[in-house]
């Protein structure tokens, strides 16, 4: 296993631990951030649509293991979000860091809408609820803020020149 893959695996485990321990206590207006979804968006931004989709599938599957919805709902939603963000990023000028919260917030809205659609089609009708509009908006704001921390983390994890150390330039 390459060093890059090990770093990506560590990122997934770290974010999963934070998501399932610390952030379960930091619920705001019924919403918690989706750390692995933001990581997927960052992966797609750094590496393109297919790495974004593959990472999103793996990260989503890990996320699914701790939810009550069927396995595969987050995996599919995150993979499609990663792919879409990857396609979108090819047209971006990649200089400004101010794009991180914007991508994190917009990608979060897209990912959560996909999650609801896929989960609803899979039989969880309760996901189609007006209350979830509020949850999606608050989660997107949360994700936008945390994108400032997760994007540099993912940039470090996806880089191939192993000699360079944290923090990324």
């Amino acid at each position: 296993m390459g060093i890059r893959r090990i770093r990506l695996l560590l990122v997934v485990i770290t974010l999963l631990v934070l998501q399932t321990s610390v952030f379960t206590h930091l619920r705001v207006f019924d919403a918690v951030p989706d750390l692995l979804l933001v990581a997927t968006i960052a992966m797609a931004y750094e590496s393109g649509p297919m790495p974004g989709a593959l990472f999103g599938f793996a990260a989503g599957l890990a996320n699914d293991l701790f939810l009550t919805t069927p396995l595969g709902v987050s995996a599919l939603a995150f993979a499609l979000t990663g792919y879409a963000v990857g396609l979108f990023q090819t047209g971006l000028i990649r200089e400004s860091r101010s794009i991180y919260p914007l991508l994190g917030g917009v990608g979060s809205v897209a990912g959560n809408i996909l999650f609801i659609l896929i989960g609803g089609i899979a039989g969880h009708d309760e996901l189609f609820a007006a209350h979830h509009i509020q949850v999606i908006i608050v989660a997107a704001l949360y994700d936008a803020v945390l994108a400032n921390a997760i994007f540099p983390f993912m940039r470090w994890a996806t880089r191939t020149d192993v000699g360079r150390a944290w923090p990324p330039g």
Binding site: V17, T20, G48, A53, T68, G72, A75, L76, L127
Partner: protein, 277 residues
Amino acid sequence: MVVYRREPQRVLLTVIIVAGVALIVMSGRFSGTLRSGAHDAMAPVRSTVDRAFQPLRNVAGDITDYRPLQAANQRLRRTAADLRGQLRRNRGVGAEVGELQKLIDLPNVEDATGIAARVTGGAPGNFDRTVAINKGSAKGMRVGYPVVTGEGLVGTVTSVSTNQATVTLVDSPNLGVGVRLETSNAVAITEPRTGDRSIPLAFISDPFAQVQKGELVFTAAVNNAAFPPAIPVATVTSYSKGPQDLAPTITVAPLVNLDNLDFVKVLRWPDPTAASG
């Protein structure tokens, strides 16, 4: 700017989509084992991180609360909740004598032994209404066991790993509870809605039942019920029945503050004589 060749991408994307759909379709067969394994694998790390971040989470509380005072306050709150719950159960039992006479062999909540557990966190996702507790199959926990506090019903255990369990809360849209109204003894089923802390009742057995705001709602006494009878569940917050309505609209609010759970008791039910773990 990076340019990607689209054709192989589309094939791979299709494979990912098919894999995702296949996972969803087959999820019911193996999700329990996988989830239990994942919880067990992550448990030590999560526990360590949880302990490490505990001071951070307490910062807000520590600003206003002196720690020993907070602990004493928690103990008193639990005692008060137990006493309130006992009082409510007495009210429920008093109104249920006739019903219990018909069901003389039906075990009740007093028969069920319990497992005390601490709530370790809420749901990790945005669309679940669950909490995690720190006891699992190692302590005899099983899926389907009812969860209560001194004040009343909290929910039911929906997944179990070795040292942890997930409890689906009573106001989750995924959980319906058979209930009985205090004065009329009419039975109904709770039908929670997403994001709404108050719960409408459905399938009310007596559409002409006289219901008063503030009256209690208990778990119903029926054979093979998922919950022991006479556990206080909620209090009636609204009642209306128009002249054209076939059934009344009754809304209840859970007695337990489900957003601020600390310790819970898991009842060994429907096998109340199960040996403690």
